[in-house]
Structures are given as structure tokens and as C-alpha cells.
């Protein structure tokens, strides 16, 4: 026992001497050792500097580039610690507020594209400056068909024209712009399966989009939505199928409201520094509109909220982003028909064309409207048309469609 204590203290002295020697010996270190030491010191220094930076740099609430709210410091609680939830939240918080986050996010994409990666974070780096979102393997095709079939069943006996419009995204229409050998899943095959299993009459605008793709940009280069021109092509297909006379696009007032729209796909890809898109909005001077947002009670005469032009998510200017139910009245519509539109955000830029034909359009976002659309239709006997419109990419993952039935 005594021996061990003795040994330990000798060792302690040894350690002390060595520490002093270490300082003295520094001059004698070879250049190689010195550089290695310097490397280690710099790496360690960077780790510590970034950690210190985290504590002293200002925390942002919202990330413009990623277009989302960043995590908040989780509150401490014994239960949350026990379940491990606290630690998870803390990890997210640390990553979300990491110093120079935007710089590092951009750097990751740069590193990947510079070694030849053509797909980053599920986005193809396509030709002509297009960033095109990948079409992931659909997982919910049967479920969606069933939901829509149930919805159609509920409307049986009602005197309404029901249609289903599944819109392809850029990955389908601009397949020729994708990088070579990029694997493609056919969106319209999935759409056909849903058309069949739901039993609802389809409106297929994919052919129209393909046909008109040389005439103008159908999709934004930096966002997952179609452009207003793309939406116009979709509207034409709708009119053809429904026997309506589409308003020629020349008769509408076109106005470019912004030229630097950097959308969702831009954020997802992280390839910052690309140019933004222009957004053109169309208004028909013949229409006399009242737009009522049922959740906020706000009433306006425009389908656009141009305050969003200053924000990051500029696509939200169409129909003021998200609302469970919007009632649009057109006093000068060409008919007395009323349309129920069950949709995702793709429809927001098509509504400005549709209003010309309907006295009233009820616009439902079923992610937020929970009282049942079919119930609404039964109670409103004037409703003559029902259109269900979704894009093929968010249809599967988003499942807002669950709210339909």
C-alpha cells in the first residue's frame, strides 16, 4: 500500500517535470512535430471558437433561407429528461442556432455539387437553371384513392359535377431538363391509379402542360409550384373538359409583382446565390370580386396579398397563404354556378382564372378545415360544381387530403 502511494507520487513529480520539460523542449521539436501541433491547436481552437460563438452570437427566430422558424430553447423538466425528449430538443436547438449556419448550409451544397453531385437534399440540379424536386416513391396511393372514393360516395345523390385534377410537377413536365441518367418515376402513372380507384371523373392537364412547355415557363426555377402561366394552361384544360369558354390570356391584365422570388426548392437545395424567379399575376378587369377569409373574417376585393412580396415566401401572395375556407364572390360572373374547390397551394394561382366562371367559389384547405366538406356541400344547395385539385408531389407526403373525408 505504502509502495503504491510512493509510486504514484513519484509519478506525479515525473508528470510535473515532463510538463516543464515539454515547454523547454519546444524549441527542439522538429518542424514536422511543430506543424502537427499547430494543426491540432488550430482545429481545437476552431471547435472552441465556434462553441463560444454559439453562446455570444445573437439567436435568430426565423431562417429566411430555410424559410422556417428555428427551434426555441427547450424548457427543463424532469419528465422530459427521463424520456430523452429534452436532450433531443436541445440538440435541435444547438444545430439551429449554430454560428454561421447559413454559410455552412451553403458550403455543404457547394462541396457536394463541386464533386459532381447532381442531386442534393432531394433536389435535382437541372438544366437551364432549374432546381427540380425529386418525385419520391409514393407510399399512400391506395389510401388516397380510398379517401377520394369515400368522398365521392358522400356526394352521391347531390346534383353536383365532381372532378379530380391531379397536376404533375416540374419533374414530370421538364423531364428533359433533368441531369443525365436521373431516375424518374412517372407521376401520371400514380395519378391514373388514383383516378381509377377513386372513380371520380379526371381532368388531366399533363398533356396540355407538355404541349405548351415551349411557350413560357410553366414552373418556377426555385420553387415547387407552377407559375401563373402553368396555372393558366391547367385552367384551359379544366375549361375544355367542363365545356367552358376560357378567357384568352391576352384579355387579362398581367403584372410582374416581384423578380426575386427564391422559393422552397431554393431553400431545400441550399445552393444560395442563384437568381430568383419573377411572379406575374393576372387580373381580369371584367371581374368584380369580394374575397372573404372565413377564419379571420377579413374581406377584400383582391385575390392577392402583395404584402408577401416583401417576405421570403412570396408564393403566399396568392389567396393570402393558408386559410381553411375562403368565399369568393364575383358579381359579374358569366354564370350563377357555384364551385367548391378542395385543393392544395397549386390551386391558389389558378383561382384568379376560375373566378370569371363562377358566381361563388368556396376554397377549402382540408388540412385546416375540419368540419367536413361534404357536409358543407349538402347544406349549400346552390353548389353546382366540385373540383378536387392537388399536385402530385405533395399529395403523397402531405396528406392534407385526409381531411377530405
Amino acid at each position: 500500500m505504502e509502495k503504491r502511494v510512493c509510486g504514484a507520487s513519484t509519478n506525479l513529480i515525473c508528470a510535473k517535470i515532463c510538463a516543464e520539460m515539454g515547454l523547454k523542449m519546444e524549441n527542439e521539436r522538429t518542424l514536422e512535430k511543430y506543424i502537427r501541433g499547430l494543426t491540432a491547436g488550430m482545429l481545437g481552437g476552431m471547435v472552441v471558437a465556434l462553441a463560444i460563438g454559439f453562446f455570444f452570437m445573437e439567436k435568430r427566430e426565423f431562417s429566411e433561407n430555410e424559410n422556417r422558424y428555428l427551434a426555441k430553447l427547450p424548457s427543463f423538466g424532469l419528465e422530459k429528461v427521463q424520456s430523452g425528449e429534452y436532450m433531443k430538443d436541445l440538440e435541435t436547438y444547438l444545430a439551429d442556432h449554430f454560428p454561421f449556419r447559413d454559410f455552412f448550409m451553403g458550403m455543404k451544397t457547394k462541396a457536394e455539387t463541386s464533386v459532381g453531385k447532381k442531386e442534393v437534399n432531394g433536389i435535382y440540379m437541372a438544366e437551364d437553371g432549374y432546381l427540380i424536386e425529386k418525385y419520391e416513391k409514393p407510399e399512400n396511393t391506395e389510401k388516397i384513392g380510398r379517401i377520394l372514393k369515400d368522398f365521392a360516395g358522400e356526394l352521391e345523390g347531390q346534383d353536383v359535377e365532381l372532378r379530380l385534377m391531379l397536376v404533375p410537377t416540374a419533374v414530370y413536365v421538364y423531364e428533359d431538363k433533368l441531369p443525365d441518367y436521373a431516375p424518374v418515376r412517372n407521376q401520371m402513372e400514380t395519378a391514373d391509379r388514383i383516378y381509377k380507384s377513386s372513380g371520380i371523373l379526371p381532368i388531366d392537364c399533363s398533356g396540355d402542360l407538355m404541349e405548351h412547355k415551349e411557350e413560357g415557363e410553366l414552373y418556377y426555377k426555385t420553387d415547387h409550384h407552377w407559375t401563373t402561366f402553368g396555372a393558366y394552361i391547367g385552367y384551359q384544360a379544366y375549361c375544355r373538359e367542363m365545356g367552358l369558354d376560357a378567357v384568352p390570356i391576352e384579355e387579362m391584365d398581367a403584372r410582374i409583382v416581384t423578380e426575386d422570388f427564391c422559393g422552397t426548392v431554393y431553400s431545400k437545395a441550399g445552393d444560395y446565390g442563384r437568381e430568383g424567379d419573377a411572379i406575374t399575376v393576372y387580373t381580369n378587369p371584367a371581374d368584380c370580386l369580394t374575397v372573404e377569409y372565413k377564419d379571420t373574417g377579413e374581406i377584400t376585393d383582391s385575390l392577392y396579398n402583395l404584402e408577401y412580396v416583401e417576405a421570403k415566401d412570396k408564393y403566399s401572395l396568392f389567396l393570402d397563404n393558408l386559410h381553411p375556407l375562403i368565399e369568393i364572390t364575383n358579381e359579374t360572373a358569366v354564370s350563377d354556378r357555384e364551385l367548391v374547390l378542395v385543393k392544395d397551394s397549386y390551386a391558389n394561382s389558378m383561382v384568379p382564372f376560375l373566378v370569371h366562371h363562377y358566381k361563388k367559389i368556396y376554397v377549402f384547405d382540408t388540412r385546416y378545415y375540419k368540419q367536413g366538406v361534404s357536409e358543407f356541400i349538402r347544406e349549400h344547395k346552390n353548389v353546382s360544381d366540385v373540383l378536387v385539385l392537388y399536385n402530385m408531389n405533395t399529395l403523397d407526403g402531405d396528406l392534407g387530403i385526409r381531411g377530405v373525408y
Partner: protein
């Protein structure tokens, strides 16, 4: 907490090291404070993911610590010592069996006798396979009088729970670190070299293993009936690279952190993908596990000294257990036995013929076996395993070659190329060449690698920051 994450790299590790270096030496027991710091951080590390199972860790270590004390106190005869050894091993194996294998056993019984016993559904305690093997090594070595008894529970717990090697090895035996637990030199140069070694591991994990893993995930999601043969092989290779770089990167990081703390852990990998035979592969792959089984199972069973029949039986037992150790599922057992059989064949059938072949052929032979082996390793669903093998063999009418394969090669060429090069001992080769150039050459190489380290660190950080970015963009649109 994983090593390659922002919380660990930028907060946990620097805090721990700063405190560790800052606490003073104590006069009669110099490292006690450092051990306390180490233990404290190890417990936080363990509790981070599994707050409840920390009690299990206390239990497992207390059992072996007490057993050790009792063995020294009452173990005057071999029989008595053996009694305490059996106690320790039995308790450790029961803990392991209960937490890791109970549901597997239940599922197997249910399948065999069409019973419907309810599975326990227990989460697997992190690192349980590693720390039970470590504590057993202590009991067995103590029984064999190869190590002295550990008097301090603090030291013992600090040894077993030591965070660098807690989750994924290497399996550090008590005999390796027992002296360093009491006395160790923390030299500046060791700390620097340890930090560089840690960084190497970090780069390997984030920039190669995770990327190769991304490729593998993409390929495994394909419909195997339609995938081309080339794609199936590419997928299997990607998984092989992922597993090797992931696992060896963890060992690199553990060894590096060990050195920064003043410990010397054993090397765990020696370029296994550059092996020339299966025997060679297992001398280079997860060395701390294969030597554990060799010293504590294979040799006690008689090894190869008691005739061919006994030898074959011993190999079968060892490889059955090695397979099972990797996971509670039949595919791991199959994977272990696959190697058992191949090793026996190399030993008794074609080993000599193999050695006569040109080196390129031997490399090809070994890598082929390894890649096929890891396909068994990755699928715990036998049906999926069968489908994948059919695609690799082109049995389901698969095309030999497809555009999708070109797409993957195009996207992952840099990672695959880097991985293929680094799987061979290129780094030691460069170092050797540099040494031949004398002091100036060495300095030049270290200067070049300095820029490499700094660049890779920045890129790695970028990947780590991006990693946690779960694109959830649509909720506001």
C-alpha cells in the same frame, strides 16, 4: 450522443477536456479528480440517450467489482475462485441475454411451436454488448491471476463507462488500462496526436461513411426485381464501405480521445478491406472482438490442439457466438457461421492453393466474400435477403447494367473513389515515403496535411450542421 454530432463535438467534448485538464493532481492519489471528471462526463454521455439504463450500468459494474473483491478475499482455492467467476459470467450473460436476446428467443419459440408469447419490447441499452464483455474480461483475467484486483469502485466504474469506447468499442480489456487508471502521463504531444486521430475518424464518419450510407439507402429502396445486377453489387459495396468506415471511424475517434485523456486503447482495424484471405480479414477486422473470443472462448475450448474434429467444433461455436454477438437475429448467426465455414475451408481445404495465386486474385477473392457477407449482415428479413441475392446473381431476369447505376456512380463517384483509396493503407505509405525525404519532406507533408485537416474540418462541420436540417418547408405554404 453520437461522436459525429454538434452537441458532442462542440460542447460535450471541449467542456469535458477543459475540466479534465484543469482539475489538480492530488498528492497521494494523483488521478482521482481526473477520474471523477471522466466518470461524471461518461455518466452524462450514457444518460443522454438512455437515462434509465444508467442503473443497469451501475448494477453490472457493481456485480463484477464485488465479485472481484470476494474472489480475492475468499478465493483461497481454485474451486472457490471458479465459483465467483461463474457468478460473474452468469450474471453478465443473463443481463445481456435478457436485454438483447429475450425478444429474439421469444420470436423464435413462437415461430417453432406456434406459440404466442408476448415480446418484452425492451429497448436495447446502449453499448451493452461492449460493456458486459469488458467487465467479463476483468473477472476472467482476475480468475487467471493476470490482473490485480481493482480496489476502487470509482476507478472500475470509470473504466467500464469511459465514454470514448462505451458505445462502439474497441473492447478495452481491464488489463490494458488498469495501470493507466492510476498513473498516466498526459503529454502535450499525445494530446495533439490524439486530437488529429479523432479528427481523422470524424472526417471518415461524416464524409465517407454517411455518404456511402446514403447511396446504400437509395439502392435498398429500389424494387430488387427491376434493379440491374450492377446496381445490386454497387449497393452491396456501398454498404461494405459504409460499415467499415463507420465502425473504424468510431474506433479512430475512441483511440484519439483516449490518447487525449492519457489512455492507450488497442487498435481495432487494420485495413480489413485490403485482406488477401478470409483468415487475413478476421485478423484485421474488429480486432478487439476477435481476440476476445479467441482468448476467452476458443483457446479455453482447446483451440486447434485437440484434433481436427474438436477444432472444427470450436470454430463452429466461436463463429456462432461471434455472429450472435452482432445482433439478436438469425441473419447475424448465419453471417457468423458463413465465416466459420469459410475459415475452416481455408484452413483445411484451399488455403495452400490460395496462397499460390497472384496477389490480385487473392484480394478479389477476399473482397468478394466480405461483400457477400455484409449482404447477409444487413438484411434481418430473410425474404429481403433472398431477393437481394437474386438481384446480385441476376436470377430474377435482371439486366446486367442499367442507367440508374450510371446515375449513382455519377453522384457518388467522389465518395466511392475516396473510400476505395482509403480502404488501402495509403496514408501509412505516404508517411513512409515522406520519411525517406528527411526532415524537410516530413515538414512539407505535415504542412500539406494541415491544409487538408482545416478544409475537411470546415466541410465536416457543414455536413453536421446540414444533417439536422429536416426540410419541413411546406408547413408554411
Amino acid at each position: 450522443m453520437v461522436f459525429s454530432s454538434i452537441p458532442f463535438l462542440f460542447f460535450f467534448l471541449p467542456f469535458c477536456l477543459i475540466l479534465y485538464y484543469a482539475v489538480p493532481y492530488k498528492a497521494n492519489n494523483p488521478y482521482v479528480w481526473k477520474n471523477v471528471v471522466l466518470l461524471l462526463f461518461s455518466l452524462i454521455f450514457y444518460a443522454w440517450g438512455e437515462p434509465v439504463y444508467i442503473l443497469l450500468m451501475f448494477f453490472a459494474t457493481a456485480v463484477d467489482y464485488c465479485n472481484g473483491r470476494l474472489m480475492e478475499r475468499f478465493g483461497s482455492t481454485k474451486g472457490r475462485r471458479r465459483f465467483f467467476l461463474i457468478c460473474s459470467v452468469a450474471i453478465n450473460l443473463s443481463v445481456l441475454a435478457f436485454f438483447k436476446y429475450a425478444d429474439f428467443l421469444i420470436a423464435t419459440l413462437n415461430g417453432l411451436f406456434s406459440l404466442s408469447i408476448k415480446p418484452l419490447g425492451l429497448g436495447l441499452p446502449v453499448g451493452i454488448s461492449f460493456f458486459t464483455f469488458q467487465t467479463m474480461s476483468y473477472s476472467i483475467d482476475l480468475y487467471r491471476k493476470q490482473v490485480p484486483m481493482e480496489k476502487s469502485y470509482l476507478n472500475y466504474l470509470a473504466y467500464v463507462s469511459m465514454f470514448p469506447q462505451l458505445v462502439a468499442g474497441p473492447i478495452v480489456r481491464y488489463s490494458v488500462v488498469n495501470e493507466e487508471l492510476r498513473e498516466r502521463l498526459i503529454k502535450r504531444e499525445e494530446v495533439e496526436e490524439g486530437l488529429l486521430r479523432f479528427m481523422q475518424g470524424l472526417f471518415k464518419k461524416v464524409l465517407i461513411a454517411n455518404q456511402a450510407g446514403g447511396l446504400w439507402e437509395e439502392i435498398r429502396q429500389l424494387e430488387m426485381g427491376q434493379a440491374s445486377v450492377a446496381t445490386a453489387w454497387l449497393g452491396a459495396s456501398a454498404f461494405t464501405l459504409q460499415l467499415y468506415f463507420d465502425f473504424s471511424a468510431y474506433s479512430d475517434m475512441a483511440i484519439g480521445m483516449g490518447r487525449m485523456l492519457g489512455f492507450h486503447f488497442p487498435e481495432n482495424f487494420n485495413y480489413p478491406l485490403s485482406s488477401v484471405s478470409v483468415t487475413d480479414f478476421w485478423r484485421r477486422w474488429h480486432i478487439s472482438l476477435s481476440t476476445w473470443f479467441r482468448d476467452y472462448v476458443y483457446i479455453p475450448l482447446g483451440g486447434n490442439r485437440k484434433g481436427v474434429a474438436r477444432h472444427l467444433r470450436n470454430m463452429l461455436v466461436v463463429w456462432f457466438l461471434t455472429g450472435l454477438w452482432h445482433g439478436a437475429s438469425w441473419n447475424f448467426v448465419l453471417w457468423g457461421l458463413y465465416y466459420g465455414v469459410l475459415l475452416a475451408l481455408e484452413k483445411y481445404v484451399w488455403g495452400k492453393a490460395l496462397n499460390a495465386l497472384p496477389k490480385v486474385c487473392r484480394h478479389l477473392y477476399a473482397i468478394l466474400i466480405v461483400v457477400v457477407g455484409f449482404v447477409i449482415f444487413v438484411f434481418d428479413d430473410m425474404g429481403a435477403l433472398g431477393n437481394y441475392f437474386r438481384a446480385m446473381a441476376g436470377c430474377a431476369g435482371n439486366r446486367l447494367w442499367g442507367e440508374e447505376c450510371l446515375w449513382y456512380l455519377r453522384n457518388y463517384k467522389a465518395v466511392l473513389a475516396a473510400a476505395a483509396v482509403l480502404a488501402f493503407p495509403v496514408y501509412p505509405w505516404v508517411k513512409k515515403r515522406a520519411e525517406a525525404l528527411g526532415d524537410k519532406g516530413r515538414a512539407a507533408v505535415s504542412l500539406l496535411s494541415m491544409f487538408g485537416y482545416l478544409l475537411l474540418f470546415a466541410v465536416t462541420t457543414a455536413f453536421l450542421v446540414n444533417d439536422t436540417y429536416n426540410p419541413f418547408l411546406y408547413f408554411r405554404f
